[in-house]
């Protein structure tokens, strides 16, 4: 860039609304503050309280819960004296066994793979920033997280569990498994983690290579 240094600095304090393109001056936000576009109301920037320590702790917790949610029975069905145990992965496997590989991929991606990838790459990026280490592929992974986010459907899956409960309630007895409790915890911790960090703030912290000011 042939831009003078002071112009680059001035530009770094500006932000364009991603929904209506209005230019704003967004200086450093106070902790807990949110900046909104004055034209369309979209969120421009957030500065969640607690720095990076909170989302790092919550993501570690969420990853442990995701592991637990995959280790134990999720739901058990009792019908005519026979018991059928279903794990979290069992939902995708059932689709595969029924000859619907496409749906097996969709269910596996949205309930296990996308959450796992998003949380582990988020943790990697935040640790790298927090420890002031420039680990490889940090920028690539942070860009990835944005694309993965819409495909994380843990909360939608939970609604599916509730509906399945009601539908089978009058033809069989259902028992909750330990993994289901871990899964409920995972949803809560994941929601808390998502609200405690802002991707754009992380981009700001990473800065532009070669530019003194971000």
């Amino acid at each position: 860039m042939s831009m003078p240094e002071h112009a680059a600095t001035a530009l770094a304090e500006m932000a364009a609304c991603h929904e209506c393109d209005e230019l704003h001056r967004v200086p450093g936000l106070a902790p807990g503050a949110t900046a909104r576009c004055h034209v369309c109301g979209a969120v421009l920037a957030r500065n969640p309280r607690g720095g990076l320590g909170r989302p790092i702790a919550l993501y570690i917790t969420a990853l442990i819960l995701l592991l637990l949610a995959n280790m134990f029975p999720f739901l058990t069905l009792e019908i005519g004296g026979r018991k059928e145990v279903c794990t979290l992965f069992g939902a995708s496997r059932a689709m595969y066994n029924a000859g619907m590989g496409e749906l097996a991929v969709v269910v596996f991606l949205t309930s296990i793979l996308a959450p796992a990838l998003m949380m582990s790459s988020g943790l990697y990026v935040m640790l790298s920033v927090r420890l002031r280490q420039s680990w490889p592929a940090v920028r690539l992974l942070l860009a990835w997280i944005g694309h993965l986010e819409p495909w994380v459907m843990l909360d939608v899956f939970m609604l599916g569990v509730l509906v399945a409960f009601v539908k089978l309630g009058n033809m069989a007895t259902m028992h909750t498994g330990n993994s289901l409790y871990a899964f409920v915890g995972l949803i809560l911790v994941f929601a808390a983690a998502s609200s405690s960090f802002d991707r754009h703030l992380l981009w700001h912290m990473l800065g532009v290579p070669g530019r003194k000011h971000q």
Partner: protein, 202 residues
């Protein structure tokens, strides 16, 4: 003032502002994503995914999403009959949620995208704030329609107790998840800044 009027482009991925030379492609110096003033071919891609979703919407509602075989009898359920079953046999608050997620949301989402596309192409300057807000809601609620696919997967996983009962996912489930995924792609490709781009005759 808008960024485009100042000759500035913001990166779709990381939000970095940059003076964009009018010709040629640039990559974002912060995240290496390609930089554009607007999402490239936004309207035609949004249209393509939306039309595909509309076509898939027919089999999604006509074919059964699952078939329950119990004691030799088999009963097929479509999306709509599944919701009706919940209203009759389950508790109605849950039935209402499922009705909204699996019937109302996909339908309203497609209509909303259609409305957004047409108003942008007709260079409408009315209700810009409301249309932007509509887009925000469409992006936010679309994923909830996937609930039906999860229900079918869970039921199929739980109920395969030999001869007593089995639940098989049906062809409608594939079409329905295609509708959800295609409308998600459609919404992702729409650029809401196009709503604000036509500044009227000056």
């Amino acid at each position: 003032m808008r960024a485009i009027d100042a000759g500035l482009a913001s990166c779709h991925t990381c939000g970095l502002l940059l003076h964009l030379p009018t010709a040629g492609h640039t990559h974002c110096p912060r995240c290496s994503s390609p930089m554009h003033l607007r999402k490239p071919a936004s309207l035609s891609q949004t249209w393509a995914f939306l039309l595909a979703a509309m076509i898939a919407y027919l089999p999604a509602n006509l074919y059964p999403v699952m078939t329950v075989v119990s004691f030799g009898k088999s009963q097929s359920d479509t999306i709509l009959s599944g919701v009706i079953y919940l209203f009759v046999h389950g508790d109605w608050p849950l039935a209402l949620i499922v009705f909204v997620a699996s019937v109302l949301v996909p339908l309203l989402k497609m209509l909303a995208l259609l409305y957004l596309l047409i108003t942008v192409q007709r260079k409408s300057t009315r209700y810009r704030q409301q249309r932007t807000r509509l887009y925000r809601v469409v992006e936010l609620v679309g994923r909830w329609s996937m609930v039906d696919i999860f229900v079918v997967a869970l039921l199929a996983a739980l109920v395969n107790v030999g001869t007593v009962a089995t639940i098989e996912p049906g062809a409608g489930a594939i079409a329905f998840s295609a509708v959800v995924i295609l409308t998600m792609f459609s919404a992702m490709n729409f650029d809401p800044r196009l709503i604000w781009d036509y500044q009227g005759e000056q």
